[in-house]
């Protein structure tokens, strides 16, 4: 069973996402802040990170810099699932931060989120 680290500050939305993902046979580790998400990476073997950029205190970009500074976490794919529009990101941000996919949260269905996750995990699923 693959493990998703879901970093989403809104409790109600996160509960919905977690329920849906678990029904699709994923294990979900949910965290609301960048700090607690870094600790979760340390505690669990995570296969993919789903990340909202707008977080309290330390935002998602700071989390990514922290995450990518550790060699053992550099290859973990990250999907941005965020209220931040793509146009608000600096042009090279996705490449610089090694983002696997970008999803604009207000217009992404749960089914589309799962499709994006499956697409990223596909090579691993078929081996």
């Amino acid at each position: 069973m693959k493990t998703i680290l879901l970093i989403e500050p809104d409790k109600l939305l996160a509960q919905t996402q977690q329920t849906y993902l678990e029904r699709k046979d994923y294990k979900v580790v949910w965290r609301q802040t960048a700090e607690s998400a870094v600790m979760a990476l340390d505690e669990a073997s995570v296969d993919v990170v789903v990340l909202e950029l707008n977080l309290a205190v330390h935002n998602g970009v700071e989390f990514l810099y922290e995450m990518r500074s550790y060699s053992e976490w550099q290859s973990i794919p990250v999907i941005l699932h965020t209220n931040v529009r793509k146009g608000q990101l600096a042009e090279d941000a996705l490449a610089r931060l090694n983002i696997a996919d970008y999803l604009y949260k207000p217009s992404t269905t749960l089914a589309q989120l799962v499709q994006a996750i499956e697409k990223i995990l596909q090579p691993a699923l078929t081996t």
């Binding site: 509960q15 919905t16 309290a56 207000p106």
Partner: protein, 243 residues
């Protein structure tokens, strides 16, 4: 952070649009929650999820309503009809209204109104709306933090030499006068103007600020029994003292 860019060019020359911009940005989250929860419910009914939709929709509608009220109060200007209002009664009413949301966010609500206070001249509906919006944002911020014990939101009033300070107080780390001043400068442009406090736009705080500006000078960072919060200072009604 160079990865994220503020929409500084979008709204800087439209000051009246800033409050609407922060409100509109803020409403993306509840509508997304409603849509995704409905998507989940199509597969299987769940009373808890239906209640989440109900509470989310109610909170979003309330915020819109209070924003419209702030526009009406602003338009009334010096002709705004103020009336004697009991702060204790207002705080008690708001505490009661916040109970349901507090249960959802696993917080406790406490009232701290030590002593008797004279009525203040205020717009009753505007005052209640502002306190409700503040309380809602603070409940959200508490839910985003790790606590060693169940968090408490205090609706409190205390007397100072400037008047009666009334507001909402909690264990809000990072809230300071400087931070709030900067947030007032960038809301409607920055995605998270109160980023040390909340991941949201904190629209409820700016709507509350707009509501209270018409009767008290607006919100400021204040302290109550070692807790930090946002409050307004009200001058007691001297007319009623003389009667």
């Amino acid at each position: 952070m160079t990865a994220l860019q503020n929409d500084q060019k979008s709204y800087a020359d439209l000051p009246e649009a800033r409050l609407f911009a922060v409100l509109a940005e803020s409403l993306k989250q509840p509508f997304t929650t409603i849509a995704r929860t409905a998507e989940l419910l199509v597969e299987s009914p769940d009373v808890v999820l239906l209640r989440n939709i109900e509470s989310t929709a109610d909170a979003a509608t309330q915020l819109l309503d209070h924003y419209l009220l702030s526009l009406r109060l602003q338009r009334a200007g010096t002709e705004l009809n103020l009336e004697p209002v009991s702060l204790a009664a207002s705080l008690t009413e708001v505490a009661h209204k916040l109970e349901k949301a507090a249960q959802q966010y696993l917080c406790d609500i406490e009232l701290h109104i030590a002593g008797r206070y004279e009525p203040i001249m205020a717009h009753s509906a505007g005052l209640s709306a502002a306190l409700l919006d503040l309380g809602t944002v603070f409940l959200e911020t508490q839910s985003q933090r790790t606590h060693t014990h169940r968090p408490v939101l205090k609706l409190a009033a205390h007397r100072t030499r400037h008047g009666i300070v009334a507001g909402i107080f909690a264990d809000v780390e990072g809230l300071s006068t400087d931070m709030f001043r900067r947030a007032r400068q960038v809301y409607g442009q920055a995605a998270t103007p109160l980023n040390q406090v909340t991941s949201t736009t904190g629209a409820g705080i700016f709507v509350a600020d707009a509501l209270l500006k018409n009767m008290s000078g607006g919100l400021r960072v204040a302290h109550h029994q070692k807790l930090t919060g946002l409050a307004a200072t009200f001058v007691p009604s001297q007319q009623l003292v003389l009667v």
